[in-house]
């Protein structure tokens, strides 16, 4: 794999996130992340799923049990905004390890900076640029941004 800059990687991730947002047909926030995972595009039928779990170890993690559909295992007691963030972040791992992701070569592009990639991807999936611009131009305020897009506070602050 060629050397890729952070800016180039982020450009690719923005397009990945936008593809999923377009698939949901969401015209305004919040982006229905959990619905997307429960009713994924055909290319990710075997990779997207949500399983609630009782755990104190992680907020969420993607896993693919041998011979089974991949799923994001998410803590059942998370705050709803934290849950959306965790699901959005782990969606990237589901995509990278999917058949479609492997055929695209996503692992080679994204695995070396997975943490940064996953956080950036989540921020773009939950607050895609066109939706954010529409919110701003419609007079949406920073104070209501976190509720309008259903983002955790720190992500809202960095995304605004």
């Amino acid at each position: 794999m060629i050397q890729v800059t952070r800016e180039e990687r982020h450009w690719f991730l923005r397009n990945m996130a936008q593809a999923l947002v377009d698939y949901t047909s969401a015209a305004e926030p919040p982006v229905p992340v959990e619905e997307l995972l429960k009713h994924p595009p055909a290319a990710y039928q075997e990779d997207f799923g949500v399983v609630d779990m009782y755990s104190n170890l992680w907020d969420a993690t993607f896993a693919r049990p041998p011979g089974q559909r991949g799923s994001i295992f998410v803590r059942v007691d998370l705050d709803p905004k934290e849950r959306r963030h965790a699901l959005a972040r782990e969606t990237l791992s589901a995509m990278i390890t999917s058949k479609q992701g492997r055929s695209m070569g996503l692992a080679e592009l994204l695995m070396s900076d997975l943490k940064d990639s996953a956080e950036y991807f989540a921020s773009q999936l939950l607050a895609p640029e066109p939706m954010l611009q529409a919110y701003r131009s419609g007079g949406g305020s920073e104070a209501r941004f976190t509720d309008a897009f259903q983002l955790p506070g720190p992500m809202a602050a960095s995304r605004w």
């Binding site: 450009w11 593809a19 080679e108 592009l109």
Partner: protein, 96 residues
């Protein structure tokens, strides 16, 4: 427009396996022809050699970005240069 087309192509490739299949079978030119790239740029993109679709996408991004960079303005000398003698020019500047 080209970057918008490239964004559309990459986004489509994320959920449509047909794009990656076309790339892997050497038919990416057919897909590029459906999009709004200039003939020159399309030819450049078709000529990219890459190990994977993701690598192709990043290399395409570099080509498209380079093609969209504004051409640097050429700094031409003032048409007055050489028509006014140095002394007159100096006194004009002093008045200004």
């Amino acid at each position: 427009m080209s970057m918008k087309s490239l964004n559309q192509l990459v986004a489509r490739s994320i959920i449509d396996p047909a794009v990656v299949m076309a790339f892997r079978s050497g038919r990416i030119g057919d897909v590029l022809a459906e999009l709004d790239f200039t003939p020159d740029l399309r030819q450049q993109l078709e000529g990219i050699e890459s190990a994977s679709w993701a690598e192709f996408a990043v290399l395409s991004y570099r080509y498209v970005k380079a093609a969209e960079k504004p051409v640097a303005r050429i700094q031409l000398p003032s048409p007055l240069t050489g028509l006014i003698d140095d002394q007159a020019q100096a006194s004009e500047e002093q008045v200004a």
